[in-house]
């Protein structure tokens, strides 16, 4: 199947293909844990931002409140995450439970292995370059938040 210049010259197409490759392997690496890469990301965010609310979690994942709700439901049903009373009576404070921390450690090990495998053909310097270039995609200088 020919993939001519129109496709190959689009950076977005190349990034999409690379993402599919990486995500598929990461998903397979997580198969034992019955969680997608995105759900693992959510666990990391909750662990590193204990007490955050669902809306903030959604923003960090680029999904809306309603979708974040469903995601937290799944993580809570599995006993990985807990909704505690938040700063408001409106707001939940999300906390990673011990079982969540235990499973997250195992998942991270598996995903790091996948990540290393998929990047094995790049040297340390090349990897740094790749990450730096990816970080410069997009419109603005992307002033990152570091608080919620």
């Amino acid at each position: 199947m020919k993939q001519g210049a129109d496709l190959q010259s689009l950076v977005g197409y190349r990034v999409q293909r690379a993402n599919l490759l990486m995500e598929t392997d990461a998903r397979a690496a997580l198969a034992d844990h019955d969680l997608s890469p995105a759900k693992m990301t959510a666990l990391i965010l909750i662990r590193d931002n204990p007490g955050c609310d669902q809306t903030a979690l959604g923003r960090a994942l680029s999904i809306n409140r309603s979708s974040a709700m469903k995601l937290v439901n799944i993580l809570a049903d599995k006993g990985l995450v807990e909704r505690r009373p938040g700063r408001d009576l409106r707001t939940n404070a999300l906390m990673l439970l011990p079982e969540g921390a235990r499973q997250l450690d195992a998942m991270l090990a598996a995903v790091r292995q996948s990540d290393a495998r998929m990047t094995q053909r790049l040297g340390a310097e090349e990897l740094k370059t790749l990450l730096a270039l990816l970080a410069r995609l997009g419109l603005s200088p992307t002033l990152e938040d570091d608080e919620d």
Copy 2:
């Protein structure tokens, strides 16, 4: 929202974020045409591989026969693509219709503009480097097909 070392050090996570950024902008650029970036990709593949069958198209897009079927239905319903008798009595030969070619040209212009905007902070040399590094992600030397 803190995004600590566990996330930032995963190449897969960085690629996923970059992809979301690029894809969202490309999707917005295509809003007038009522087609997703993936469907535009399908049109390009059909144009550049006239007479290809649905299964081959699916393989190129990394989706299965059944999903390729649905995709072609949508493109055919819109009058962009046609199913002609193929090399077998089992097989379709997919062809881009004139209206498909016309719309594809307009879509390509819009997506190229989006792509240029999202990569504006990278120089020509940096872009080449990015594409080269992305192409080396994955396990094997990725011997690309160029026939179907």
